[in-house]
Each structure stands twice: as C-alpha cells, then as structure tokens.
C-alpha cells in the first residue's frame, strides 16, 4: 500500500475506517516505520507498531479489555489510548500518534 498522500501540513493519509474491524488492529507504514492502527468501539487510535520490549509486531496482538493491546510475543500490554505500559515485561511506554478521521479516511500526524 502507498500512503504517501499528504493532505495538509504533516497529516498523512494512512487508510480508511473500513480497513479496521471493531476491536481490531491494522498495520501500516509511515515514513518507513510500522504503525499500528486500532478501532476501539468506532474510535481510531494509532501507536508505534513495534513493542517497546522486544521485536514484536503489535498488529498481530490482540485488543483486550476494550483498550489494551497485548503483545503477541510476550503478553506485555499497553493502554492504546495513552501508550502507557501496563503489564510485564513492558516497562517503557509506547509512543502514540495523533489521528483524525474525515469522511471515513484516517489521517495521522507522526509524533516525534
């Protein structure tokens, strides 16, 4: 997929809401780096795609308790809304990226 489609300033089009089932994940690349998109009860969130603990693709993990992403490798977890590390072995928070949805299209502004 190609998401080089810049809307305005640094908001980048990364997909559509229809790409992500409810309580599911969707993996995209932004600036060559993996980003994981989430659909939590219709609301879209985005975090770095790689776990802060090990080399694991969070998009393969599962959304649990409606707001946590559980790493597919070691079962550490993060709060999707804040990036906060909530379960071992994860101790370093996950970086979140601001997103906005316009007419079903998801735009992301990469966080530093």
């Amino acid at each position: 997929m190609d998401f080089g489609d810049v809307m305005e300033e640094e908001w980048i089009k990364v997909g559509t809401v229809a790409d992500i089932d409810e309580d599911d994940t969707h993996s995209v690349e932004v600036g060559g780096k993996p980003v994981c998109l989430y659909n939590l009860g219709g609301e879209i969130f985005a975090t770095d795609g790689k776990c802060t603990h090990g080399d694991a693709d969070l998009a393969l993990g599962m959304v649990v308790d409606s707001c946590l992403i559980e790493c597919p490798l070691h079962e550490g977890s993060f709060d999707i809304r804040t990036g906060r590390a909530v379960a071992a072995p994860c101790t370093e928070d996950l970086r979140c990226h601001p997103v906005k949805v316009e007419q079903g299209v998801i735009y992301l502004r990469p966080a530093n």
Partner: protein
C-alpha cells in the same frame, strides 16, 4: 526486613522489581554470579547470536537499581546457606544476613559425558559471553555440529543457517523436541530444518571429540568420524540446587515450593527454572524452564514477600523462533490426546488444539499467536468451541 535474592537472571530481577512494585519498603539485595546486569536470555540463541541485536533486553539497569533501591552485586557466587543464622556465605568469605531469602539460581548447561568436551571450540549456551563466543564462529563455509535436537539446538541451527554455516544436528532420541511436543510437531520442525539445509540425524550420539586435521575438531559419530569447526552442546539444564540441598531444603527435580514460591523453610523462597511448583494444569508438580514462568512466578514471589496475596498457577506457556516460524505451546501437549488442526503444516501457519472429554488441554500454534491468546481464555474458562469451528479458518476465533 532484608530480602536477599540469590541468582540475578530473569527470575531474580523480577522478584526485585515486583517487591518494589508491590510497595516493599525494606532492603533488597540481588546477588548474581555473572558480570552483567540481569538480562533476558531468549535472544542469546537468536538476535544476539546472529548479530542483529547488540545486547539482550536488560532487566535492571544501574539507573533502575538506584531508583528501585536494589543492591545488585555482580560476580558474586554464593557458596552456602546457614538457615539457623539466616545468612548466606559468598565465595569471597563475606556473609550476607537475610530475613527472607529467595533462590533464583537456575542452572548451568548439562555437559556431554564423553571425551574431548573441554577442547576449545566445544561450547554450551547460557550466558551472553557464550552467545558472543559462538557468534564469532558463525561464518560462511564453517561447519557446526549441534549436539541435542531440543529448542536451544534448533534455534542455534536456524541462526547458523542464516549465516551460511554448514550445520549438522545430532539428536539422541528418535525425534526432535520429544519431551515437549507430539510427533506431528517434531516432523514439522524436522521439515523446516531439512528445507533450510540442516543435516538432522536422529537416534545418534557423539562418542568422543578430539582435535581434527582439516577442521579444528573431529567427532566420533555412529557412522564414523567427521570434522567440524565448532561443536555446540544443547542437551538440557543441570539445575543449581546444590545450595538448597546442602542446607536441607526439600529438593525433588527442583526446589519444592508452594503456590507462593515458599520452600520447606518458610523464610526461604524459590522461583524460575530451579523451582518445582504445584500446577493444576499439569495435575501435579511442574518445573518449567521458560521465560514466562521465570518472570511470572518471580512476580508472585515478590508480591507475596511485599505482603500481597498471590497464588501462582499460570498455564504453562513457551515459544520458539526458528527461521520465519514462531511456535508457541500452551498447556501440556500429549502424544495421546485427540487433536484438531486449524490450517496445515504445508500452509506454514497452523494451530493444533488438543482436547480431552470436550475440554481444551493444550494448544500449539505456528505463526498464529492470536490463537494462543484466545485459547488461553478458553482454558481458564474451561470451555472450547466444537472441533468443526476450531478447524474452520473462515471463523474469527476471537469473535466467538
């Protein structure tokens, strides 16, 4: 209150972390034999060995030790425990007094019982130093003999093949990883390694190792002598239960502990590879050499010592990464149980669900980590969808 932890691996470090996370205010001392700060061992046979990871994840950095007020002492070998005086003696002669003692001593690689294992070029893998020493040998065209077709041996084989090393794996038993997975999985493992060019020899052992002429080492094998540049022995762990035995704690295939990690002396606890714990999923005692067990049992011990309530009875779970395959095992697989396959070995991604009396007993998933998460929930709830549903890949199991 002073908690002294002997053994600074995965379990030891997590006991220390968990003590503080659960509000323990007393003194915490962590004594480690190795020179490094506590680190995670799984990458030693993968990323660290291949060079893609410089260092495995550190469990307690110097800054974290300061912040958590953990007195970490590397290069410290404990040689005895005096239960009456409540102190441990170090190799240096120094003694350290404890109110509560935690043994997270793990073990050391089991040695091969044949001539020549002391020769340079014959390795085992447990520490970061071991991993780095083996890594220097993994160069294209080198020839490596791996003794032991278990998880460590197979992960090293996969890493070595990535480095274009010529690899032979010798397994004494009739199939790979026979202790932990059913024959179907052993066959799949063998297929992946054969496809990657590994020469897997079953029911075969090495009878002696000596200096070679064309390559550094010559190994006597059932069909004759062959030469190799290096030998790695991965035939299991010899538990470090010596301290516990010498001071009279109950030891039976590991240090015997209860759900809180308490040994037969209520002031002494144990966790990790070295501890034998009650496990309802195994219908008896279980000693597990796995990353998750070392972490989570240690967390329970830390919580208990901090005055919290914990009863460790996690479902056994481990994984292995080889080539492009992530294999995860949940529960205790059996050679006898019925199995339902979701996907197939040929597809490269599958899950084998084993059931008994309509209840789920174990799950083995290859490149299907979500199936493990869902199955963990079913195991806890004592439920399981019908076989036809499990086998149907068009059904999303997490939506059931």
């Amino acid at each position: 209150m002073h908690v002294v932890i002997v053994g600074a691996g995965q379990a030891g470090a997590w006991v220390a972390r968990s003590l503080r996370e659960n509000g323990f205010e007393g003194e915490v001392t962590l004594l480690g034999r190795e020179a490094s700060a506590p680190y995670e061992r799984p990458p030693l046979s993968k990323g660290v060995l291949s060079g893609t990871e410089d260092h495995p994840p550190v469990l307690l950095t110097t800054q974290q030790c300061d912040a958590l007020r953990v007195g970490f002492r590397p290069n410290t070998e404990v040689v005895s425990i005096d239960r009456a005086r409540r102190e441990v003696r170090c190799e240096s002669g120094e003694t350290v007094a404890y109110d509560r003692l935690v043994l997270t001593t793990g073990g050391r690689p089991r040695r091969l019982a044949c001539a020549g294992t002391e020769l340079p070029g014959v390795h085992t893998l447990r520490t970061i130093e071991d991993s780095r020493a083996i890594a220097t040998l993994l160069q294209p065209g080198k020839r490596l003999l791996i003794v032991g077709g278990g998880w460590i041996g197979l992960e090293i084989a996969a890493t070595a093949r990535k480095k274009q090393v010529d690899v032979m794996v010798l397994e004494a038993g009739p199939r790979l990883c026979a202790r932990s997975v059913p024959p179907l999985i052993s066959t799949a493992l063998q297929g992946w390694h054969a496809k990657a060019g590994v020469d897997v020899r079953l029911s075969a052992t090495v009878s002696s190792i000596e200096k070679g002429t064309r390559r550094d080492l010559r190994a006597s094998l059932p069909w004759g002598a062959e030469e190799f540049d290096a030998v790695v022995v991965g035939i299991g762990l010899a538990l470090d239960t010596g301290l516990a035995e010498a001071c009279g704690l109950e030891v039976h295939d590991g240090i015997v502990v209860d759900h809180q990690g308490r040994t037969s002396d209520p002031k002494i606890y144990a966790a990790g590879d070295v501890a034998s714990r009650p496990c309802s999923w195994a219908g008896g005692r279980l000693r597990l050499e796995s990353w998750a067990n070392a972490q989570n049992q240690a967390i329970a011990v830390g919580k208990t010592l901090a005055g919290g309530e914990a009863a460790y009875d996690d479902i056994p779970w481990f994984w292995s990464d080889q080539y492009d395959k992530n294999l995860q095992v949940l529960g205790i697989p059996s050679n006898q149980l019925e199995g339902v396959m979701r996907g197939s070995v040929a597809e490269g991604s599958f899950t084998l669900f084993q059931t008994f009396d309509g209840k789920l007993r174990s799950v083995i998933a290859v490149n299907a980590p979500r199936d493990i998460k869902v199955a963990k929930r079913w195991l806890r709830e004592g439920t399981c969808p019908p076989a036809a549903v499990l086998a149907d890949r068009s059904v999303r199991l997490d939506k059931l």
